[in-house]
Symmetry: D2
Subunit: 309 residues, 4 copies
């Protein structure tokens, strides 16, 4: 099957490779041409397009164009550009981490131009090339069926699913990432407790992660990654305690608030990431200031005094 | 190898079977004799002991006695009983969910009688018979080595580990369960959001759990169990929203507090279980009462008024 | 000073009374006329308007119109209506709990019609009549100055403030309510612990609230209200554990997420309110189901078994 | 009335002064004699004791000895010392922040020696001299009645209370401090949001705190202290974001866990203090490491790529 792939980053490049390996024809475009050319030169490689116009011309209608771009403004811009470049009946797939509410709006706008829009939530990260990408699809069902040969190549066995109408793919992916934040935080707190308690001091944490992956209740792929990370750097001394977040964790919290569904753990996991990026917390300074206000000087000598409030 | 197994509940019974399957000799005791006799009658079965004295007599010194009892008073009582029944050089293993601080005390006391004490944290639940039990061991290292043939039979490949001196096995198991609570809560909140949001309404949640187990970042054994549970009862209508906790989640929080290591997600996961068991929360009644105090009657008609505070 | 007051609910009615008591001329309107007429009949009462047109006609330009309506669609509708009824130079004040982002948009739209917009966050609830309303004002500074005589009558001494340009009043009020949720939850949890612990069983909680208001660190107006509520109903047996939330707590969380400022306690306080309204939590059912999946039946007899995982 | 005061720190010194001002006779002891002598030299001052023996001798039986020492080992040591120094019928009062479980044990032990034990939770901090100390008393009721003249002098009007048998005073004080942590955190998060959001940038936070103390729902003594702190240092630039905790917040969490009463906000407030003291969080490093494991390099250029998972 023929497809245009726009964006050859860590995700898009390997997704293109999986498609090529399965015999699909990939017309590839990336803003900086080095990746495009590299992919074209690989064995059984892609057809290089150096402009979006070239990409559109190289595809036969009805064209399938898969956007694999960082979420946000860049996706929006490309959708505007393709609205003008594509023809009635063509299909635009957004495989990035867009907000599902944007999908609903975009699908409506593109429909006015006779274009189909599909939202695809894609999980798997840099391991997807080998294992396949778990893919959650939203949009018209017949578009999902049209894409099935490509999804079959991209995903592991049983690894793609039609989740519902426009936005459903990214909605499900959003919740997936919310859960991911919560799970990661659970592991992080547990290992931090082992690291920080006198009773866990002697443990080789990577060996423990490995052990727990053998039959314990908490075995998981994230725990396998924990094993790898701790094997490489047992005390994580080369890693800064600075944790980014992408939009999806935030949207999960916002949707929980909108739906009035409590999600305390998913929310706290997000907020801990915010906290990790603060070097001089105002809240903590105020707490410390207040303790001084009611209890006197912060530094007390044991022999002098009593209860500080 | 020969071992005495005390307690043939869901865990102990199947652990005995795994040992028997591997050719070990198991002398088995259970308070109610039905299980003991059942196990004795199985092909290649155990030697039945109907009293602790019989069990001790049936074992050759140095005796290995594995306690697989519910955590708490019952374990304590059996340790006292065996202190009197066993002889110098014998080994008592506690495979239940004891608190690691108890292990340290018990080991010291048993040592005075010339007895060895080993604490073993065992994970795997009812799936352990088939998959093996992930086992975390604390105590003297040469006792761990002595037990290795048994642990090899009990655990999956690479599924047991020496964690350190007395208490280390249960300490590690405690943190394991703390993480387990956090992970379970993360999944529970995510699926509840899917269930409670208008955008997730049409989804078949068991299919989604299945999908996510194919290559997604959040794939895990707990997610496989989620798949099973949702397949059997897609909307969980036959399940009460009442969640028990065992001691280990609580101890994890207590140790986090003692060590001053923040563990907000593990803690909240525990407290959500407490919350699930409250049918008429005093805190919520007070909140509601306070809203009345400052804002007037709880019921307001839209046409009448404004901000309630 | 002359002002039109639209909305005579629990807040608007008493605010009108405070203005009347200070000699201001109030033209009053309420959707259902009973309140309007009641207010007109009071000593030194308001001028009754039974339509918005009557209200506008009764006011001399530049007109001041204060909306005291429930947040949401109703406010939006009235702003549209007044956009058509008012004349260049008139001032529309929204004293309800609107979202500050709406203020920014409204101010821009009203400016096109030559109208001024002021957002006023008002706190004090049903006690405001007696104590005065703490008022946080956003908009053009000269409009704030124009309103000062009215604000002086509405608020206690030093109880109003110019917070910044459009939206600033409601932004500050939003954070105020976020803090309010957190404080209320802190008290609620503390008293619930006293109620739920064996060591707090004998305590007369209303007396304790009263005690704590005498010189303790946690004394506050909310604690005085707690005292009142517990005096009236010592065990809160007539109150349902069902806690509403208004928009402001939710927006606080959303703004925290947007600004990447951690606000775990404010967020949890909100989510506890969501939780209070769930009678059959899906999350808890899934947790319970999962425990069954790995640990076997939920009901275990003490004599039979061991660790459930 | 005559009393011995042991420990002249920030609390004990001022408590002695309040007692002296009301005409009580205070025999004072402090480990370092400077405070003792200073207090003795004040107008209407105390009788100086330079050893515990001197203190005991200067008191007439039945002696009242009030310990105002930092919680922990020092209190324990003094109780042992006084067990030997005091005579049958004497009364030992612990006014520090002891754990209520210790009170129960101590009362039992002292009773064997014919000594009475009273636990008194005291709140008010450095403001107590002026305002009085809110005092929560546990022990035998007739001891409470015996102490009433002293408590009347120490506390503001209606500011002391009999809370129940041994431990009840410190139990109630413990919950008080738990609530205090939650309230402080609520304010801290709210002000941090004002500080961290673009919409709060121009606000003078001390003025806002002052405003909120005039009639708003969240007015409180802690908010008055916030006002003071922000007036002195508007951006808190001279304060380190490092927040200590004393034992009582921790015990509150432990008791919540023991009683299975959810206290998420009180708990998080404590854990945020732990967090404030971490300069290189292991949990955050693991989170960051995991993001690298599944998503590739942390630094991505916008033009290259897409979704990181």
């Amino acid at each position: 099957m023929q497809i245009g792939m726009v964006g050859l980053g860590k995700m898009g490049m390997n997704m293109a490779r999986r498609l090529l390996q399965d015999g699909h024809e990939v017309v590839a475009y990336n803003r900086s041409p080095a990746q495009t050319d590299a992919l074209a030169k690989e064995y059984g490689g892609a057809i290089a397009a150096h402009t979006l116009e070239e990409l559109v011309e190289a595809l036969e209608p009805p064209r399938l164009v898969w956007l694999m771009l960082p979420a946000g403004q860049i996706v929006e811009e490309h959708i505007v550009l393709f609205t003008n470049l594509l023809s009635r009946g063509d299909v635009l797939i957004d495989g990035g981490n867009s907000r599902f509410r944007d999908d609903i709006r975009r699908a409506r706008q593109l429909k006015k131009h006779g274009l189909h829009y599909v939202d695809a939530g894609v999980s798997g990260g840099i391991w997807g090339l080998e294992i396949g990408y778990c893919t959650m699809v939203g949009g018209e069902r017949d578009m999902f069926e049209l894409l099935t040969p490509l999804l079959t190549s991209l995903a592991p066995e049983n690894g793609f699913m039609y989740c519902g109408s426009h936005g459903a793919g990214h909605f499900v992916k959003m919740v997936h990432n919310g859960i991911e934040y919560g799970m990661m935080q659970a592991y992080a707190e547990g290992f931090a407790l082992l690291d920080g308690s006198e009773y866990g001091k002697g443990l080789e944490l990577s060996e423990l992660a490995k052990l727990w992956n053998q039959g314990s209740v908490i075995r998981s792929w994230l725990l396998e990654l924990t094993e790898n990370a701790l094997e490489r750097d047992p005390h994580l001394i080369n890693i800064a305690p600075y944790v980014e977040d992408s939009g999806e964790g935030r949207w999960t919290v916002e949707e929980a608030v909108r739906s009035a569904v409590p999600a305390p753990v998913l929310t706290l996991a997000l907020m801990e990431r915010f906290r990790s990026r603060q070097s001089n917390s105002f809240a903590d300074r105020l707490l410390s200031a207040l303790r001084n206000e009611f209890g006197g000087h912060a530094v007390r000598s044991a022999e002098d005094g009593a209860a500080d409030d």
